[in-house]
């Protein structure tokens, strides 16, 4: 079976761990639990008729100001792609995602990625605001609204990324 390592990246509190828990175990907890270190999970998918195993690395959240909360890029060694998670209720987490994406490109090189706009169940009006989102769309980033709480968009997020990874 083909295996693909996928890293979850984003600011703290955006729901990276919750997205993985929803996708892998169909679980959701309202309680916020900050991630230290890395938790590795696995889920098998079928992509174009072939089985693919996603090895998901849930990384700690990036702090916006705290140097000690910078994600170590060494975790991305061997990754086939990554998910950039932003919180749809905290537009500033887009900036953190942009910084992370640049650091990945600078240190690891180009890898396929998808942006999960999480907490869609809470309403994400800023996604429709061109002054906030316009420059992101210009970069051809792929945005998928998700809700780890309801499960909306979660399967689509990982399935679509897996399809791109398999396509190479």
């Amino acid at each position: 079976m083909t295996k693909k390592k996928v890293c979850m990246l984003g600011a703290f509190g955006v729901g990276k761990t919750s997205l993985v828990a929803r996708f892998v175990k169909s679980l959701f907890s309202e309680r916020y639990h900050s991630t230290i270190g890395v938790k590795i999970d696995k889920k098998d998918l079928v992509v174009n008729g072939a089985e693919v195993s996603l090895v998901l690395w849930d990384l700690p959240g990036e702090g916006e100001e705290d140097e000690f909360q910078k994600v170590r890029m060494s975790y991305l060694q061997g990754a086939a792609g990554y998910v950039l998670v932003v919180d749809g209720t905290r537009p500033e987490t887009l900036e953190t995602a942009r910084n992370l994406q640049k650091r990945v490109e600078d240190t690891v090189g180009h890898l396929p990625f998808t942006v999960a706009v999480n907490k869609a169940d809470l309403g994400n009006d800023w996604q429709e605001n061109p002054s906030v989102c316009g420059r992101w769309q210009e970069q051809d980033w792929i945005f998928i609204p998700t809700s780890a709480k309801t499960g909306a968009g979660v399967e689509d997020l990982f399935q679509s990324l897996a399809e791109r990874l398999v396509k190479g």
Binding site: K3, K5, F12, G13, Y32, H33, S34, I36, G37, V38, K39, I40, K42, V55, P60, G61, G63, E64, D66, Q69, R72, S74, Y75, Q77, G78, A79, A80, T89, R90
Partner: protein
């Protein structure tokens, strides 16, 4: 750098063995397990089962076949509430994987980070 006297290096070794519970594995170039020792059970790893290696070592996926460059993955949760610093390196013709327990530090850091993040989230506009 001056060499450490034996008393110090032995003391450091003793501390590491007591507190960081090392486990080691020797792998071939394709990542197949050849030898192991130390405390693998501490990390939820059961080499005796001889599972396919990618299942035994999910953290190695993507870096096998192993190169000459050392790899370091800090603070990986290998079992519930068990965190290890993982060192992968090539020495004396063998590929070594070394796990050192950092659970106590990780759990302390988690509690502190949790408080800091909660405060930061409460300060956000609209909260």
């Amino acid at each position: 750098m001056t060499a450490l006297p034996p008393s110090i290096s032995e003391y450091v070794l003793h501390l590491t063995m007591e507190q960081q519970l090392p486990a080691f594995f020797v792998l071939d170039q394709e990542g197949r397990l050849c030898e192991w020792g130390g405390r693998p059970e501490r990390y939820g790893i059961s080499p005796l089962n001889q599972e396919p290696d990618a299942e035994l070592f999910p953290f190695l996926h993507g870096i096998v076949p192993l190169g000459d460059e050392p790899v370091f993955f800090p603070c990986v949760e290998t079992a519930p509430n068990v965190f290890a610093d993982i060192h992968v390196f090539h020495r004396e013709g063998k590929n070594w994987v070394l796990l050192l327990d950092v659970s106590a530090d990780a759990l302390r850091q988690q509690q502190m980070q949790q408080r800091l993040n909660e405060i930061a989230l409460q300060r956000k506009p609209g909260n």
